[in-house]
């Protein structure tokens, strides 16, 4: 069977989550690879969540927030940006490809952008292959 990546998506309830809803309403087509988790703000996504997703075998993690200036809490997404920049360097230092963590600004009106991001991210992850932790597990099980 061909590899279908498993993406954990943290979506801000004010924008990206609404954008995902709109993608559904618009009947946009995108691969069924993402499991969305609604969060109050992308600034609520602690690095622990991303690390935990990778540790439990997610192939990619998407963090979706509002465009700069649009944050419902004024500056939550600026904090997200700082944090995710550092985190993507951190996971690279831990031996993961930093492309496995993707930060996107998707507003509630951008259903098509949501579909496009998921399609692109899925293709990128197929090229990268499964989470290296899963390979190790398979080796141990063999």
């Amino acid at each position: 069977m061909s590899f279908s990546p498993n993406i954990v998506g943290f979506a801000c309830q004010w924008c990206t989550y609404a954008g995902a809803d709109l993608a559904g309403n618009l009947r946009c087509k995108y691969p069924p690879t993402v499991k969305l988790i609604k969060v109050p703000c992308s600034g609520r996504v602690k690095p622990e969540y991303v690390l935990q997703a990778l540790a439990q075998g997610a192939d990619g993690v998407l963090v979706g927030g509002c465009h700069f200036g649009d944050c419902h809490y004024k500056d939550g997404n600026y904090k997200t940006k700082n944090r995710m920049d550092l985190l993507s360097k951190l996971i690279a230092d831990m031996g993961f490809d930093p492309r496995r963590l993707r930060l996107e600004w998707i507003s509630g009106a951008e259903g098509q952008k949501f579909a496009k991001v998921i399609t692109e991210f899925t293709e990128e992850l197929i090229a990268l292959g499964p989470n290296p932790l899963k390979k190790e597990e398979e080796l141990i099980n063999e």
Partner: protein, 323 residues
């Protein structure tokens, strides 16, 4: 007190600095020995061997302190033996509790570490590339053994149940005194907790800006390392742009490093309610970066963020080693 408390100390993959912290109690240790009987202290202080511990009855030791992380199969074996012999087991110091600085070894392969330690250092002369190996046959008849090297560093609680944790590299002797006092008087927190005053380093730090009315949100535009200048003695290091982990670290040390102008790197262990020290450190530091330039300068000045944020805590992290 009718009977003395039987205590044991066991050093695993550590430097014995934690045991020095016990010795640093000096005359207070002499007072404490009126209530304590040291029945095992190896391999550092007492002339006892591992098989002496193995020969003890189960539960013979009232309180056992283990310092150092777990890297060798011998460490795993001895930790399990000590767990059986001790009624109460304490992970003493940050290595046993979170992995310690040696935990950063998990970011390298065994090959990298061995070639650095036994081959490539300038003071090493090893033309035949002799590396330690678990078995070695000498003269065809002496079968010599060394402990085998595990694939990663582990914390004590990844091997056995731990009753209490004490942070610090090493624990400050004043805190060791408090901890031993708590043990002798049996005023201990619930099992599985840290023995701590429960305050962050900032709480005990004399530079805390709220003490002199300069509190409020900290935002820096540039990040500095200690080589970039000498920080002002009385101003919060974070306000000056020197990255300090005081806000998220237990302050049982009394802010020792801050008193001598050195930023906190988190040896005290995480303040309660936090399970992944490095991730919390990242969150805390990211929240003071006021611009993208500040983020960029941090990443430029600290080439390996895993070693920066997880200086003392990598093996206890969500991702305990390099993939």
């Amino acid at each position: 007190m009718s009977e003395k408390l039987k205590v044991g100390f066991l050093l695993l993959g550590g430097c014995a600095g934690c045991e020095m912290a016990v010795v640093d109690l000096s005359e207070k240790l002499v007072d404490a020995l009126a209530h304590l009987e040291v029945v095992f202290w190896a391999p550092t202080v007492a002339d006892v061997k591992y098989h002496d511990l193995e020969a003890m009855d189960d539960g013979y030791i009232d309180v056992a302190f283990i310092d150092g992380m777990i890297r060798l199969d011998e460490h795993i074996h001895m930790a399990k033996v000590m767990r059986k012999k001790a009624k109460t087991l304490i992970a003493f110091g940050v290595c046993a509790a979170l992995g310690g600085t040696a935990g950063m070894g998990s970011l390298h392969t065994k090959e990298e570490l061995f070639s650095k330690a036994f081959k490539n250092t300038t003071t090493t002369d090893n033309p035949d590339n002799v590396y330690p190996s678990p078995h070695c046959l000498v003269d065809g008849k002496y079968d010599l053994t060394l402990p085998a090297y595990e694939d990663k560093v582990r914390t004590l609680n990844q091997i056995v149940d731990v009753d209490y944790y004490i942070g610090g590299c090493p624990p400050h002797h004043s805190h060791v005194e408090v901890a031993i006092g708590a043990l002798v008087t049996k005023q201990l927190p619930p099992k599985g907790s840290w023995i701590t005053n429960g305050k962050a380093v900032c709480d005990v730090c004399k530079r805390n800006p709220t003490r002199n009315g300069n509190g409020g949100r900290i935002m820096v535009d540039k990040v500095l390392r200690m080589v970039d200048g000498i920080p002002d003695d009385n101003v919060c290091l974070l306000q000056q742009g020197y990255l300090c982990f005081g806000p998220i670290t237990q302050g049982d040390c009394g802010g020792s490093c801050l008193n001598v102008n050195i930023p906190c790197r988190g040896c005290g262990g995480p303040i309660p309610g936090n399970e992944d020290y490095g991730a919390q450190a990242l969150t805390s530091i990211a929240s003071i970066l006021g611009s993208e330039d500040a983020t960029a300068s941090l990443m430029e000045k600290y080439p390996n963020l895993a070693k920066f944020f997880y200086r003392y805590a990598l093996p206890s992290g969500t991702l305990p080693r390099k993939m």
